[in-house]
Amino acid sequence: MAALHPRRRRSDLRAAIPFLLPGFLGLATFLILPLFASLLLSFSNWQVIGQTRFVGLANYVNLFTHDPIFWGVFRTTLLYTVEYLALNLVISLAMAVWIGSLSWGRQLFRLVFFLPTFTPLIGISLVWLLMLTPGGIVDSVFATLGAPVPNLITSPAYALQVVVIVSLWSHFGYNMLLFGAALETIPSAYLDAAAIDGARPWQRFWRIKLPLISPSLFFGTVLTTISSLQVFDQVYALTRGGPGSSTTTLGYAIYSQGFVTYRLGYASAIAWVLFSVIMALTALQLRLQRRWVHYDI
């Protein structure tokens, strides 16, 4: 063994290059280069026709001061993210605890609630569109119950809630499994000790279980935030950003500015706003984790 170690210390650079090259070239060409290209584009007035000029910060100035819908879109995106994140965490945690408390059928029920996760969001959203479209089954159920509710998907007040519900239905299963697996790794000795000391079930949950699974909660929170800020498929299939612009999120605005009206420079500026929000919120979560995430147990 000892004879091998000096040999291992030298660099394997020459061997490493052919191993790394395909992946590195791919990432550089189709990820890193486009990332910086989109920043450059956001300083231009690039459209499909007409002369392209460097316009400095004009796109951003326009976006922040003249665009009639931008702040609404920004607010919709944050509102969607906060609401979806909160509901997702509560529901997936509650379902993980509920299923974890069962004496049989745990794997079966986990599977049931996980079923939509690997199916196309577009397909799911169109099924929900059929249920929610005017005259659909949801309207019939509300009418039978005598509930004075307008059609949800065509109502500016409720349409965003529809997007939240469809997203929850299709994706809470992932965090449910993540949290459920973490809950199962908690040594029962901790809980028994607390029970002997007189801790009630509710206290055991808040004071022992939650802190012990905080790394998983943090991981789930960060990933869910990043993906929900980008919400697109559900919006496209359910509402196309409407009615009005009530469900237009940043992700949808990039698409509609870029590929419906072909204002590619302007759309790139929106893309960088989205990217900045994602980076800022992720950085914020990384900072805040010191206050509530416990790794050292």
Binding site: L35, I99, I122, L126, V127
Partner: protein, 284 residues
């Protein structure tokens, strides 16, 4: 004392039964959209918005699946989806194995810096890069082609990261023995690492394939017209000028969901275990 114990025993049993019944009801309600999709895929046009609504079709119209197939070139969409997802998966497996091995087993200057750069690319949202990618497709003349659908989305560092983590658990001794015998790194990867990593490779293949099968934004941008349209894109085409063909669309949605559902049911043990491990590396 004994009656007290017995009473608590029956109380606990009642509570447990209530929990099971409650979750079973929740599960049935949860599954309703799948039922509604299938029930509408199999009914006549005029029964879709019947008043009062009908839970089940009056007669089962299997013919809708055939009709959906000829209403739009659905077979073509299906094959396009399968071809694109399989091609991306193949590229990802090869590229990630190579770079995962380099990050796990080869020593070179700047390794950790490069690895952090790879991890950082995971944070880049697709929505931010699609505009330059679209322009790049125009410059390469790749708009509405298979290579345009496949190549730009085939490079993600997720696979390199996943396989590196797995390769790190393979004992060094196996590799040292092969090195003494004069085996090259490529040979070690092919004959020792990959055969030992089949579960990780299978998971990576599963995640990549379903991810591509379900993907919508890039096909929406990279494709114009039905020739290269994938299934999710094809589904939206049922929303035509003359109103939506709901029963055909639901038949199409059912077909689009089948691979994901079948894979989830067959592989759920592996999938669940990998998500559980995710909590491990997420924490550190």
């Amino acid at each position: 004392m004994t009656s007290e114990v017995r009473r608590r025993g029956t109380g606990a049993r009642t509570a447990s039964a209530a929990r099971h019944i409650g979750i079973a009801i929740t599960a049935v309600v949860f599954l309703f959209p799948f039922f509604w999709m299938l029930s509408n895929a199999l009914r006549l046009d005029r029964e879709i918005f019947a008043m009062p609504p009908r839970l089940l079709p009056s007669s089962v119209q299997w013919v809708n699946f055939v009709a959906a197939w000829s209403y739009l070139p659905f077979g073509r969409f299906f094959l396009n989806s399968a071809f694109v997802a399989a091609s991306v998966t193949a590229i990802v497996l090869v590229v990630s194995s190579l770079s995962g091995y380099a990050f796990a087993r080869l020593k070179f200057p700047g390794r950790s810096g490069l690895f952090i750069l790879y991890l950082a690319t995971l944070m880049v949202p697709q929505a931010v890069i699609v505009i330059p990618l679209f322009l790049m497709m125009g410059a390469l003349d790749w708009v509405d082609t298979y290579q345009g659908l496949i190549v730009p989305v085939a490079f993600s560092s997720f696979g390199s990261f996943l396989l590196r983590q797995f390769f790190l658990t393979i004992p060094q001794e196996l590799e040292d023995a092969a090195r003494i015998d004069g085996a090259s790194h490529l040979r070690i990867l092919l004959t020792i690492f990959l055969p030992l990593s089949l579960p990780a490779l299978g998971l990576l293949a599963l995640f990549t394939f379903t991810g591509q099968w379900n993907s919508f934004l890039w096909p929406l941008i990279a494709v114009n017209g039905p020739d290269h349209a994938t299934l999710p894109l094809g589904l939206t085409l049922f929303q035509g000028q003359q109103g939506t063909q709901w029963n055909y669309m639901m038949a199409g949605a059912t077909i689009s969901m089948l691979p994901g559902l079948v894979l989830t049911i067959l592989m759920h043990r592996y999938i669940f275990r990998s998500i559980a491990i995710g909590s491990g590396f997420g924490g550190r």
